[in-house]
Symmetry: C2
Subunit: 251 residues, 2 copies
C-alpha cells in the first residue's frame, strides 16, 4: 500500500531531488526498446564512491553522456563516424558497420574515450571519478568560450583513448532519440545541473541477462532509490517544452 | 608455511593448468609499471559466469586481447590510430593525443569495440560472453584463410562499435611491450589455447585505487586462485624462446 507521502511525490520530482543530492536513480527506457534499467548519476557528483556503486550494483559499461550543444561545440565525433572514416585506411572497418541495431534505427551513442591527463592508469575509482567530474566542470564552463579555444582547453585537460566512455546525445535530444543517453541528459537539465550524466546498465548476475524491470523496481524499493521510466522523463520534457515556448522577441 | 605440494608447482605451471580448465588467474604486471593486477581468463572459456566474476571480483574494464598476427591479418586498427586519422575531419582529436602515458612510452593497447551481430544490446553477461567466445573461435580458425576473406567473415559475425573492448598486442609481443595485454597473451600461448585472453583490472572499493599487490595475493590465496607476476611469464617465455630457436631448414 502506498503511503500518502509517496502518492504526492511524482517519480520525476523525486528523481530531480535525488540527482541534486548526488544520489543515483534507476531509469528504465521503455517496453519494446532496450528494456534495460540504467543506474544514473549527475556527472558533477560522480565521486569515487559513486563509481564503485555503479560498477558493483549495476555492472554494465560506465559511460558519460555529452549534450548535443557540447559535442557539437567541441567537434567530438561519434565512434561510428571514426570507424566509418577509418575504413579508408583499414578496409575491415567497412565490413563492421553497425547497420543492424535491433532496438534503434539510428547509430549507437558511443563517442570517444578519455582520461584526465593527471590520472595514472585511468581505471581506478578515484581516476574515473576525477575524469568524469573534471569533464562535468569543463562542460559547464565553456558556454561563452570560442569553439577553437574550448577544443584546445579540452585537449589540455584530457587524452584519448582513455577509460571513460563518452556517449554523444543525438542532435535534437529527446525529439529525435529516446535512449538512456537522451533521457538521462534531460533529467540533468530538469534538475538544473550540468547536462551530463554517468550511467551504467543494471545486469542480473543470476540469469546473465539485463536486470528485469520488476527486479530493478524491487532493488530501488529495497535501497530507497527512485525508479522512473522514459515516459516519466518525456512527459516532463514535453510539459517544459510546452510551458517554455520560444519567447517572442520584445519589440 | 608453504606446503610441499605448493613448492613443487611453479606459479607459471599452476596458471597454465588453471587457464586450460577455464579458471581465472591473477596477473600482476611489475613494480614500477602500472602496478595493477588483472584477473585473466582464456577468451575461449569466457562463459557468462566468468564475465560476471570479472565485473564483480575485478571491477575495471573487461577487455579482450588480440594477438599481433591476428590484428595484422584482420587489419584491425589501434584506437589511437583511429583518433589520429580522425583528426583530419575532427580537429579536436589532435589536441587529445595520448602522448603522455606515464607507465609506458608506447601507445595504449586499446583497439576497436565489437558486438557479435546476433546479440541484442551487447552488454549483459550472456551477450559479452557470446561475443568473446565467438571471437576466440573465429581467431582460432583463420590461420589458413586469405586475409581479405577473413576480414569479410569478421564483419559478417561482428559489428563495431560494440560493448567488448579489444586490446591489440604490440608487434613483437613481449619483446617490445610487457603490459597485461602481451603478458596474458603469452600465457594463453604457453597453455596451448587460442591466443586471446579476457582481462579486467582488480580495483579496491575501499581505497578507490587499484587493488594493491598484497591484497591481490591475499584474494588469490583466499579463493584458491593462482597469482603470478609479469616476471613469471617473461621467464617462461624466454626459456621457450631459448629452447625453440628458429629451426634450421633440413637439407
Amino acid at each position: 500500500m502506498r503511503s500518502p507521502v509517496a502518492e504526492r511525490v511524482k517519480p520525476i520530482e523525486a528523481a530531480v531531488a535525488a540527482l541534486r543530492r548526488g544520489e543515483p536513480v534507476l531509469l528504465y527506457d521503455a517496453d519494446g526498446r532496450e528494456e534495460e534499467t540504467d543506474l544514473v548519476v549527475a556527472s558533477e557528483h560522480a565521486s569515487p564512491q559513486v563509481i564503485r556503486l555503479l560498477r558493483e550494483a549495476a555492472g554494465g559499461l560506465i559511460c558519460t553522456t555529452v549534450a548535443p550543444e557540447h559535442h557539437r561545440k567541441l567537434g567530438l565525433p561519434f565512434l561510428a563516424d571514426l570507424v566509418a572514416d577509418g575504413a579508408k585506411s583499414h578496409p575491415v572497418l567497412k565490413h563492421l558497420m553497425a547497420n543492424d541495431l535491433k532496438y534503434d534505427p539510428s547509430k549507437s551513442s558511443f563517442g570517444i574515450t578519455v582520461n584526465l591527463r593527471t590520472t595514472y592508469t585511468g581505471i581506478p575509482d578515484v581516476d574515473r571519478s576525477a575524469t568524469i567530474r573534471a569533464l562535468a566542470r569543463f562542460l559547464g564552463s565553456i558556454g561563452a568560450v570560442r569553439d577553437s579555444d574550448a577544443q584546445k582547453d579540452f585537449g589540455r585537460l584530457f587524452r584519448s583513448p582513455g577509460h571513460c566512455i563518452l556517449l554523444n546525445a543525438a542532435e535534437g535530444g529527446l525529439a529525435s532519440r529516446q535512449g538512456h543517453t537522451e533521457l538521462s541528459l534531460e533529467l540533468a537539465r530538469l534538475s538544473g545541473l550540468v547536462p551530463s550524466t554517468t550511467i551504467c546498465e543494471m545486469l542480473d548476475g543470476k540469469t546473465g541477462k539485463a536486470l528485469g524491470k520488476k527486479a530493478a523496481q524491487d532493488y530501488a524499493a529495497r535501497n530507497g532509490l527512485v525508479f522512473l521510466t522514459g515516459r516519466d522523463v518525456t512527459e516532463a520534457w514535453q510539459t517544459r517544452v510546452a510551458v517554455q515556448p520560444s519567447a517572442p522577441v520584445p519589440a
